[in-house]
């Protein structure tokens, strides 16, 4: 396994978007990629060939978040138009629109079964929408955040949110508990580790922290990149080996998870702020998106 090798070789540049690209998501198979950008569209494309398969239009403003169901049949997206769109992948039509947020929606995610959509908004609420029922109203509204909910992720039984008020909130549905971890810096990105025991959180003090989910302790922190203004979605590699994040200077940084050591820097990976990185769930391949309007596929040397 080329685990030691890092995906630092540019394999493909995807230029289909006009304007900044805000979000990138792999599907569960790792064969397709969904990107959403300022041009109000989402594009489904093949990272191997770089060909656009479908363009999903419907958003009235920029697309800021997206999530794909595990069966690839649907995906959900959100953005500046305060609506959550549930798209059908094959027909490129919206199945449903969830309205209710009072401001732009930063992040959205499905639960495991794709029955529930959780969206976090600038209006400091998290709304949980039911895909099965026909209710216009959310199942539940989580109003604990005191500032914009910048990022969230849903696991099998948890909802984790990162808010600009400097807290990581973990709603444990199974235990019926809300665990709030104060970081005291605006959180812009949260994600679970692959084993589900840790939480990776980026904050606007140029730091990425790896938090212990159980006791809220700090396991490791990763520094070196620049992140003071923008929401930069960081991620972990597919075997939780590395921490990857973009930077406001256009570089991409890769750290070792255990040692916290900066392993690699892709200098000038993009011409502008790297907004989001996503790691292929199966291969050592990653994709980064940037404000410069491109999405880049990065592979290891051996794969290229």
């Amino acid at each position: 396994m080329s685990s030691t090798e890092l995906p630092t070789k540019n394999f493909h540049v995807f230029k289909s978007h006009i304007g900044p690209v805000h979000v990138v998501r792999y599907d569960s198979s790792g064969e397709y990629v969904l990107t959403g950008g300022q041009d109000r569209t989402l594009k489904l494309w093949n990272p191997e060939t770089g060909l656009v398969i479908k363009t999903y239009e419907g958003h009235g403003k920029e697309v800021l978040g997206a999530s794909i169901t595990r069966d690839h049949s649907k995906f959900v997206s959100c953005g500046g138009d305060r609506q959550v769109f549930l798209f059908d992948v094959t027909t490129a039509r919206t199945i449903r629109r969830f309205e209710g947020h009072q401001h732009r929606i930063n992040a959205v995610d499905f639960n495991r079964d794709g029955t529930v959509v959780v969206s976090g908004s600038y209006d400091s609420t998290v709304r949980i929408w039911d895909c099965r029922g026909n209710s216009r109203y959310p199942i539940q509204i989580l109003e604990e955040a005191k500032d914009s909910v910048a990022s969230l992720q849903v696991s099998d039984y948890e909802i984790i949110t990162g808010s600009v008020d400097g807290n990581i909130r973990r709603y444990d549905l199974r235990a019926g508990a809300l665990l709030t971890d104060l970081i005291s810096q605006p959180i812009t990105s949260v994600c679970f580790s692959g084993d589900g025991n840790c939480v990776l959180a980026s904050s606007l003090d140029d730091t990425i922290r790896l938090m212990d989910k159980d006791n809220g302790g700090l396991l490791n922190s990763f520094k070196g990149h620049k992140n003071t203004q923008y929401k930069i979605q960081s991620c972990l590699s597919n075997y939780d080996m590395h921490v990857i994040s973009g930077s406001e200077d256009g570089n991409i940084y890769i750290w070792d998870l255990l040692e916290g050591k900066l392993l690699s820097t892709i200098n000038q990976a993009h011409g502008s702020v790297v907004t989001c990185v996503a790691y292929n769930p199966k291969q050592p391949v990653m994709i980064s998106t940037s404000v410069d309007g491109t999405a880049k596929v990065w592979k290891t040397q051996s794969l290229v």
Binding site: I18, D113, D130, R132, L142, K146, D165, Y171, L204
Partner: protein, 957 residues
């Protein structure tokens, strides 16, 4: 009336006139007269009618839709198939004779007119072959294809081909008429139609001018230049087209463009807003001055440098000097006016006013002016033209008021105005009032105007002055006018109110924003997120926090902050709270509800928005439950007091006991009502089994069942007979509307109780005749028949928890009419008779009578064990009553059943000793209320058939 008469008269007069006219007329009439317009045909058929007056008719003029209440749609013959004669299958043909001949039935055979019409609509009109001009070639093609096919089929058989060819040659080709006509006119196949014309060259229209318009027709020297420019424009347009955004890349979430239709894809940008005048002058219509401002500037330069008016002045802004003088030939009709000798075209004022100079100096110079609009401000134009500007005070409204009025006004408000003006002159600037506490709080809070230190110090000064901390008078700063300074002070006052630190309660609800962001409202906002520069505001909040609890909270909060800053994440930074996921959410996540005991299936209280409709059923039920418990308590209190006031003279002991006993009991009932259990089997039996069966059974159950609380009641000392009767009366009073009358009535009515058994049949009429002075004995008898029947029937019902239900249900089962049932079961309707009774004395008397009679009958029953007899009698009564009477009776009886039902079970089983009777009465009065309340509770709790609302409620309410 008079109007009608007048009209009639008028009509007569006109008629007479007509007659006269007819006699005298000597007209010659040509042509045929139009038919007289009679009243029916005068109605305009096309006149608009409201929808509810419009009628829908089918093609035969028949009304097919008659409205929902008149049968809805009618089809066929009066909603039947077929005709007047009945249904005759029109297509039926006996196939017996020609069985072998297969009848081919088309779908059309089974269609009715409408279907056929529809079919006809779906059919396409096709030109026949003869006229098919366009299709001819196709036909030929098909012919050729067929030929080729046949050729391929038998390649060898040449004869066949020749045959076909010959056939083709011989058979006249079916050319369409149009072709034949054209041929006759000399047209040949393959030729075009119409006159021969030159090939039209199509130029791609790549501009946004009108068709055929050439903007450079008169300016070929500009054409090359501007065309290249337009190419740039064009390329720009193309990029704009490929870019489906209106707002461009810069449209972010921070830019609030709510009014815009964000889903709109076309944009104004795609239209050319620049017009080029024929005089080669750019006129800017829209905002797009950034594109070509140099042309204008150049022209301006030109005009300023060399193009001066003949009097030597610059042309007005927005105006351009004409290159060519006006063509004179156009105006040759008129001779130009003769200019007087010595005429100076420009008027120079002898004494330019001081205001003018001031104005021009304050006016922005031309070079700095925006050149976007053609409109010039009136003042500017006036200045340009050298007009004397109107003096400022002249613009006052008072200048238009006549002098006398003005004087009067002055007199009226003179004193006030004088004071005012003096004040203003003295103070010069107005210091707005700020509350002392606000000022002190604001001093502690955030101090704005950080970008202007002198202003900040002034602000502080102002606050200190307002807080009474310093006595330093506010002075007018240099380079400030009084107006400006007072405005600034106003701002300060506002700022003090805004930047006063929040009360700790509110503060805890908000996240601390960086103080820099507050300043930013004075500065240009920047994009992107920003980390707070410090935790200043938190400290501020903690300093101002007053209550200990909040300080504790703040402390813990700040401790967590500190810990977080020191990277000591863990227990210090973690807070745990209960989270109540919604039931549905748990379901969707396939997780058992972690808080099954949590009733409101909510999360942390406030996260309920949108999850539940404001008036969901549960909510309403909840509210109702709350209300009913409240009102119940009130009712019991009121009710007991009401009864006590009524019975106070008779039995004090009862009054004393009542409130004490009713309360715990009521609670019991409440719990019973909440834990609603399925009624026992015999209730269903009572409902669904035959009457005789149920009766006998009930008798048994009544004997068996004794309410548990009855045993626990203390036995009162025996009392004289009179008191008993009075108590009965009081009980009656509770359950009926007028207590005072009833007491008398019941006393009298009670008396016949002692009439011997054998006379019982008669005593009813006797009682009624004696007790009711308002009605004839006959009518009373009638009433008695109608009321007493079902009432006494119910006397046997045992007193149980489900007593109510049972009786009411059984009653319902007996009444055959559904509507009657409804009236019985619905409590709203039953209140009506009560009201009526209150209004109507006589009916009330009946009620009382009836009630008393019941007591009597009960007593009698108790006296003798001969139940059989009474039941039979009641049955007879029942039979004799009509269904209508029965319904009314059942209504009334239901009102009484609460008060009566409890005796009924004891009555049959017990002996007739006075003590027992007394006790029973006591119990009854108590339980009556309890029952009522429980029934009320039940009625609120269960949405099923609501038990009858007893009359006594009118008093308790």
């Amino acid at each position: 009336m008079s109007l009608h008469k007048k009209k009639a008269k008028l009509a007569q007069v006109t008629e007479d006139e007509v007659v006269d006219e007819k006699a005298n007329e000597t007209f010659i009439i040509y042509g045929t007269l139009l038919p007289e317009v009679d009243s029916t045909s005068s109605e305009d058929k096309g006149k608009f009618q409201p929808i509810w007056k419009q009628e829908v008719r089918d093609e035969n003029g028949l009304r097919r839709f008659h409205g929902a209440f008149k049968g809805g749609w009618s089809a066929g013959y009066y909603n039947t198939v077929g005709s007047k004669e009945g249904w005759i299958p029109s297509t039926f043909v006996s196939s017996r004779s020609n069985r072998s001949a297969k009848k081919e039935s088309l779908p059309q055979d089974f269609m009715d007119d409408e279907d056929l019409e529809e079919l006809g609509q779906n059919q396409k009109l096709v030109t026949t072959e003869e006229f098919d001009l366009l299709g001819s070639t196709e036909r030929e093609k098909a012919q050729k294809q067929a030929l080729a096919a046949s050729f391929n089929e038998n390649r060898s058989g040449f004869s066949a081909i020749s045959e076909r060819l010959i056939e083709d040659l011989v058979v006249p080709s079916k050319e369409p008429v149009g072709v034949r006509l054209l041929k006759k006119m000399g047209w040949r196949q393959g030729q075009g139609i119409g006159p021969h014309s030159a090939i039209i060259k199509f130029d791609h229209k790549d501009n946004t001018y009108g068709l055929g318009f050439d903007p450079y027709k008169n300016a070929p020297e500009f054409a090359s230049k501007v065309k290249s420019n337009s190419k740039v424009e064009q390329s720009h347009l193309q990029t704009a087209n490929s870019l489906p955004m209106k707002g461009g890349i810069g449209v972010g979430a921070l830019e609030e463009e709510d009014d815009e239709d964000i889903y709109d894809t076309t944009s104004i940008r795609e239209y050319r807003t620049l017009l080029i005048d024929e005089d080669e002058e750019a006129i800017f219509v829209g905002k797009r001055q950034d594109k070509k401002p140099q042309t204008f500037v150049s022209s301006k330069k030109k005009s300023s440098s060399m193009q001066l008016c003949y009097d030597g002045s610059e042309p007005l802004t927005g105006f351009v000097l004409a290159q060519r003088p006006l063509p004179l030939n156009k105006w040759q009709v008129f001779t130009p006016p003769e200019i007087p000798t010595g005429f100076v075209p420009i008027h120079y004022f002898d004494t330019p006013g001081p205001a003018e100079t001031q104005n021009t100096s304050s006016m922005p110079s031309n070079t700095h002016q925006k050149v976007t609009t053609l409109a010039i401000v009136a003042d500017q134009r006036a200045a340009k033209l050298g007009e004397n500007p109107i003096q400022a005070p002249a613009r006052s409204v008072f200048d238009f008021v006549s002098r006398r009025d003005k004087e009067r006004l002055d007199n009226l408000i003179g004193a006030y105005v004088e004071v005012k003006t003096e004040d203003v002159q003295h103070a010069k600037f107005v210091i707005p009032k700020v509350e002392k506490d606000v000022a002190t709080a604001a001093l502690k809070g955030f101090i704005p105007f950080g970008d202007n230190l002198s202003k900040q110090t002034r602000y502080k000064q102002f606050l200190e002055y307002q807080a009474g901390l310093s006595q330093v008078e506010l002075r007018l700063p240099e380079d400030y006018t009084a107006d400006e300074f007072s405005k600034e002070l106003d701002d300060f006052a506002k700022a003090a109110r805004i930047f006063r630190p929040m009360s700790s309660m509110i503060a805890s609800r908000f996240a601390s924003a960086s103080p820099s962001s507050i300043i930013q409202e004075f500065k240009q906002p920047e994009g992107g997120l920003r980390a707070p520069s410090g935790k200043k505001s938190f400290q501020e909040v903690s300093t101002t926090a007053t209550t200990t609890s909040t300080t504790v909270f703040e402390d813990s909060r700040s401790a967590a902050e500190a810990a977080a800053k020191m990277n000591m994440f863990g227990a210090l930074t973690r807070t745990r709270a209960e989270f109540y996921p919604n039931r549905l959410l748990c379901k969707r996540f396939n997780i058992a509800n972690p808080h099954p005991e949590h009733k409101g299936d909510s999360s942390t209280g406030k996260t309920q928005k949108g999850q539940q409709q404001p008036l969901s059923k549960e909510k309403v039920d909840e509210i109702m439950q709350e209300r009913s418990t409240q009102s119940f308590v009130n009712n019991t209190n009121n009710g007991s007091s009401a009864t006590s006031t009524q019975t106070i003279t008779q039995s004090e002991s009862l009054q004393e006991k009542d409130p004490e006993e009713s309360k715990p009991d009521s609670e019991n009932k409440e719990t019973v009502a909440i834990n609603y259990v399925r009624p026992s089997m015999d209730i269903f039996k009572a409902i669904f089994e035959s009457e005789s069966d149920s009766e006998s059974e009930q008798e048994e159950t009544s004997k068996k069942k004794v309410p548990p609380n009855l045993v626990s009641h203390p036995i009162d000392a025996p009392k004289p007979d009179e008191s008993i009767s009075v108590q009965v009366a009081s009980n009656v009073a509770v359950s009926s509307s007028s207590p005072i009358i009833k007491q008398e009535k019941s006393e009298t009515s009670f008396r016949p109780m002692f009439i011997p058994k054998s006379d019982r049949a008669n005593d009813r009429t006797l009682v009624s005749s004696t007790s009711s002075p308002f009605k004839s004995s006959e009518s009373v008898q009638k009433d008695h028949v109608s009321t007493a029947g079902p009432l006494s029937f119910l006397d046997d019902i045992p007193q149980t928890e489900s007593n109510h239900k049972r009786s009411s249900l059984r009653d319902e089962s007996k009444t055959t009419d559904v509507k009657e049932k409804k009236t019985i079961s619905s409590p709203v309707k039953e209140t009506k008779p009560t009201i009526e009774n209150i209004a109507n004395d006589s009916t009330r008397n009946h009620e009382e009578l009836r009630i008393s009679r019941q007591h009597i009958s009960k007593k009698q029953k108790r006296d003798d064990s001969d139940d059989e007899y009474t039941r039979r009698r009641h049955k007879n009564h029942k039979k004799s009553t009509s269904s209508k009477q029965r319904s009314s009776a059942s209504k009334k009886h239901k009102k009484q059943e609460d008060s009566n039902s409890d005796h009924s079970q004891t009555s049959s089983s017990e002996s007739s000793s006075n003590e027992v009777v007394r006790r029973r009465h006591k119990n009854k009065t108590k339980r009556h209320k309890k029952e009522y309340s429980s029934s009320k509770k039940k009625s609120k709790k269960h949405s099923g058939p609501k038990p009858h609302r007893p009359r006594a409620m009118d008093y308790w309410d």
